[in-house]
Subunit: 253 residues, 2 copies
Amino acid sequence: MTITERDIMGGLAKGLAVIETFAADRPRQSISDVAAASGLDRATARRCLLTLAHQGYAEWDGKFFTLTPRVLRLGTACLASMPMPAIVQPALDALSDRIGQSTSVSILDGAEIVYVARAAQRKVMSIALMPGSRLPAYCTSMGRVMLAALPEAEAQTRLEASPRPARTPFTLTEMDQVMAEIARVRAQGYSVIDQEVEMGLCSMAVPLMNARGQVIAALNLGRAAGPEPMADVATRLLPELQAVAAQLRGLLR
Amino acid sequence: MTITERDIMGGLAKGLAVIETFAADRPRQSISDVAAASGLDRATARRCLLTLAHQGYAEWDGKFFTLTPRVLRLGTACLASMPMPAIVQPALDALSDRIGQSTSVSILDGAEIVYVARAAQRKVMSIALMPGSRLPAYCTSMGRVMLAALPEAEAQTRLEASPRPARTPFTLTEMDQVMAEIARVRAQGYSVIDQEVEMGLCSMAVPLMNARGQVIAALNLGRAAGPEPMADVATRLLPELQAVAAQLRGLLR
DNA sequence: TATCTTTGTTGACATATCGCACAGGATTAC
DNA sequence: GTAATCCTGTGCGATATGTCAACAAAGATA
């Protein structure tokens, strides 16, 4: 069965688009703000917002709308239903203790990585990362590892569909550079990033596979850039990451 | 302006209800499952699910639907737009280091608390807590502190609207017991819980206020039940919690 | 002040959607 | 093998919703 035009509920699609217009930099929006951000008619945006308010997902002071914690229910049911966080967290904690670095597990959603679990040691990044946090895939070690597991054309399509700003002077932004690096990652089985996401931050990642060998997530460690070359750190800590990946392989589905 | 019947979009409300039926214990659902769980007609549930799939919020193998990580976007926009996690995290980390216990900050949503930030030291609880995680308010230290800040009738209404299972032999479940404890918490300004959420787990919480004195969140510490009576722990660590609460008071709005 | 924009709200009409009822297919019971 | 039971997909009429246009009120501009 294929999805036909008749089976789509416009109201639901529009309402979800309205929720997504509430980004971090625009937590309070008027009806017109939302209409402009979503491309909807003001009358339609108004009805979406009033519906959200009526259902408890938004609050309204007569002028501005704000989302309520209730919208977290929509997403966290997904995270909670994913066995992955619960399964990987103990292994992550143990690994983090052993090597003294922050470790994380993320999955790929389009051209972004989504953190599902994290064991933080020291604050190495300027922004707070937590389960549900997103970063672009093109410039992160976990993103490159997961992109490398896709068919090359698919990876390219995803990357082309989203912007690739130069977050630091070291960020690879050109498509052929990124694709070449992804090919290298695919060949060597892991990815090392040196200050492409943020100055002073290095990381390396390996893929996490399920029992059938499908890459379903990535595991990484992050550390502050220091005197020791990242390549040396990589060869020293790679076995640790790979050991955890192997241990988890039988547990994930 | 008041919300009239005409301004509500049924389709959006139904679709959100459909998303919420995907709980942790039912990550994969057929059309009929969702219809039964949401009370919707099967035809309507089907249209909602197909719409969610078409928009990328769900996946469909022809029989079962699963939510995709994309639904996390809906909720995390709210968490990210909330300045609270970023503001409280450093203070939380410092406090956690100083006292050697796990600390958390949560807000109240209906009769549930929602974690917004956490600094974990040791694993003291059987389930993994992370930002976005929910626990019932009636049996948690942070929940009682925030309920105590509401008008008594409001707190009672919220508690009566949701079940209060005896999670351990120590859990207060009767309305008058819980309300009496909340009154005590209101009078003394903090809450201590001894193994009411889970056996072996104790916690204490203080309210977090903004500059205007409104209670907007709660701060707690959790520790394993040990030989030292929880009352002694409380008097020893209460000043630490209160100091952080005072420090944060000027920073939150 | 007068004029021009922007915003929230309402009404009308074409169209999409709801919920019901039913058909076909799959699965189970016997 | 057949009946019974469930599930999914699909017309259909009644109703709800989206779009467009108009309008009043509030700011903004001059």
